[in-house]
């Protein structure tokens, strides 16, 4: 890592990078031709090329958002970004066939170990495309389809055509349009009726090259009565220049299905993380976003759930850590569109060393959504006087039977709590670590145990130096 990069990203554990050995790398910059070239190089059907081109024109015309962090957004130089880079010839299903340096990278981030012990399937994406993919045979035999998105489009074009862009249309926002124009990689997951995927499946997204844009597209379909837990993790090298990550994730939970989508976002601070994540929940289904944002310079992410079917349920547990040079603008959106729907949102954030954390949320109850219930809790911890915490919740209530609660608080770690722990023999640093881990407990207890342990370690590293 260069000194300049270290100044920007600080002490970041995953800041190493491999030598760029890409076999195809497009010139920096974006044009209709680049969009068409991406589609051509993937041999996509014409309808997908048309969607990409349409989305590109929408991206060009669409204004940059005026909220969030307009200063950083307006500084993005879209012409300095590489929109497509291919690192390997194919997506392999045996690690032996993956280039050694890429293997080593995924070893270092702990992915291969997790695959061997408790994951049901895995997709490892390196820059623009997946380099490795696997799924347990027993899942495959039950009809579970788990592919990288490019393979999904090739092998199941009818399913992709039916659902692609139906949850997040390209016209949704500027970055959804950008993603739709230049998407590459991501996951395609289909769970057949009644199938319960007991072991989580995971995608890991790694940016390696400098000035890279990663635009993966994920589509998860859980058919009636099925269930799945999908986990995504992400890291990137520490460069002085800015990288852009702009993903779109679409989830559809059919009647009685359950999707849990967990994210551990740990990009380096030079990455701008501007993603759109949204789910449709049908009758009696459940969608859960378990979302952590520890890394990146700027994250703007508001996982959304449209409760379209009667009796459906939404759950969002979101934690954010904003350290030096970080702005975590995160939140959740829940739209109650049908009767007897329920939602629960818990948001926790910590601001430290001048970091800024923002909760931005929307809770909407439409006139037809009778007997809805919702509870939102936002708590923020401020660890020093240079930091900042904002809360921008919106509640739009259009039905008189709705029962809604929202509460938020901003405070610092209580001296009494520190004193109590220190009187039991912990030093100040350890006491602070325990309090912070406890603060994030609603999130970590929703994770598989290995991830929870890793998350706590990560937080302890982030908290180093927070005392004295």
């Amino acid at each position: 890592m260069s000194d300049e990069a270290r100044d920007i990203v600080g002490d970041y554990r995953y800041g190493f990078h491999d030598e760029d050995k890409s076999i195809i790398r497009f010139d920096n910059g974006l044009s209709e031709q680049i969009v068409r070239d991406i589609s051509a190089i993937k041999n996509e059907p014409e309808w997908m090329t048309d969607i990409r081109v349409k989305a590109y024109h929408h991206f060009v015309e669409r204004e940059m958002p005026k909220w969030g962090n307009p200063e950083i957004l307006n500084d993005i130089d879209f012409e300095a970004i590489t929109y497509f880079l291919r690192s390997t010839d194919a997506t392999e299903d045996d690690w032996k066939d993956v280039p050694e340096d890429i293997q080593n990278t995924f070893d270092k981030v702990g992915l291969r170990e997790a695959e061997n012990t408790w994951l049901g399937g895995i997709t490892a994406q390196y820059d623009s495309e997946a380099v490795y993919h696997s799924i347990r045979e027993d899942l495959e035999s039950q009809g579970v389809i788990f592919l990288d998105m490019d393979s999904g489009l090739r092998e199941h074009p009818e399913l992709v055509k039916k659902y692609f862009g139906k949850v997040v249309p390209h016209s949704d926002n500027k970055f959804a349009a950008l993603n739709t124009a230049v998407w590459s990689g991501g996951s395609f997951l289909y769970i057949p009726k009644g199938v319960h995927v007991e072991m989580p499946v995971q995608a890991y997204f790694r940016i390696n090259a400098e000035n890279m844009g990663q635009f993966e597209r994920t589509l998860i379909l859980a058919d009636e009565g099925s269930s799945v837990h999908y986990i995504e993790g992400c890291t990137a090298p520490s460069y002085a220049s800015t990288a852009l990550h702009s993903a779109v994730v679409e989830l559809i939970a059919m009647d009685g299905a359950k999707i849990r989508y967990s994210t551990i976002q740990n990009w380096s601070n030079n990455v701008l993380n501007l993603v759109t994540k949204r789910a449709h929940a049908m009758k009696n289904s459940t969608v859960e976003w378990i979302d952590s944002n520890i890394g990146s310079g700027l994250t703007m992410k508001y996982p959304a759930i449209l409760l379209k079917g009667e009796g459906s349920h939404a759950e969002v547990v979101s934690v954010a850590y904003a350290g030096e040079n970080q702005h975590q603008d995160t939140g959740a959106k829940v739209h109650h569109l049908a009767a007897n729907t329920t939602s629960n949102i818990v948001s926790k954030s910590i601001s430290k060393d001048g970091g800024r954390s923002t909760y931005r949320g929307l809770l909407q109850v439409t006139p037809k959504a009778h007997n809805c219930r919702s509870k939102i809790v936002c708590d923020a911890l401020m660890l020093d006087q240079d930091s900042r915490s904002d809360t921008y919740p919106t509640m739009e209530i259009g039905n008189s039977s709705a029962d809604l609660e929202h509460e938020a608080s901003v405070s610092k770690v209580s001296g009494d709590q520190l004193f109590y722990l220190m009187s039991r023999g912990f030093n100040e640093q350890e006491a602070m670590g325990l309090i912070v881990n406890g603060f994030f407990d609603p999130f970590t207890r929703e994770l598989p145990s290995d991830y929870a342990v890793e998350m706590n370690k990560l937080l302890n590293i982030k908290m180093e130096g927070s005392i004295g």
């Binding site: 509640m395 739009e396 929202h406 938020a408 901003v410």
Partner: protein, 339 residues
Amino acid sequence: MSHPPRAKHLWRYTPWPRIRPQEGVPTADKIVFTVNENIDLESGAPRVVLESDIARVFLSEIGGSSHTLHIDGDVGLVHIQARASGHVVAGHLHIECKGKSTVILHLTGEADWSGLYVSGEVSDNCKLAYGFVNELSNDCKLLHCEDWLVGRDATMEIAALSVGGFRSKSDIRTTLSGGGSTLKQAITVHGLGARHIDNHIEIDHKVANCFSKLVINSACAGSSRSIATGLLKVAKGANGTDAGQVFRNLLLSDKARADSIPELEVLADEVKAAHGAASAPVNPEQVHYLMSRGISPQHAEALIVEGFLIDAFSCLDDLDLKNVLATRMTVHLECELMR
């Protein structure tokens, strides 16, 4: 000035074209202010304009009447009647409090469009309890802005009762600029018919050791809509801040709507800042309880609504202010019940 974008909460629900009287800047007639016999209203008021806010610039340019009320010493209860009659009317009232007083501003009349700007300053160690009652006729439109400055160890209480008008937008901003200052603010909204009531409240903790509490209770019937947006700002270095905001909505019909946006911007760490928002229908158990005591369902609901709305004033200390507004609320609800 160009129209403010709807991306900002301030203008999302009541866009500028829906609340201005007409295109351009008309010349307004005067709102007529009258006050207790023993008090004088001085003609003219200091021009205080927040250049970035279109509503304040508009109210400053449109003309109308302007008066200043000086409070020196313990003045007691002051009633100010503001009469809005005509097509487009406007007025500016400035209050300089260098003592202690309770001031109630009653806005009445049947003007098509009223623009009211109230500004004021509570000097160090002084106390002002201020109440605003919107009693305009049912087809009036109101644009209403207030700016308050609260000095060191001063106390300001603000209460607002909105029971009149067809469409109103209120933007009340208070700056706690002196250490140890206190603000208690209570707003009640009773939406009937197709009323549209938009309240935007900003409280700015500029310095350390200040206290603020805001309670907004809205009860909406018919196809009315209540919008409450709040922004609580705690400036860098404003340690020892203790600030809380509570937004409650009671929806009384299927077509009523309520939107709540309680925002926090905190740049200091030694603070207690919290907000809460809740929305629920009338509890059927409460209605059942009252009916079992021989009260009709309509009266039972009216009692519950009255209790809910008046509860907002419980955060205030000034008895005159609480009594006047609670009485006015009760009269309003009884009139509605008899219709």
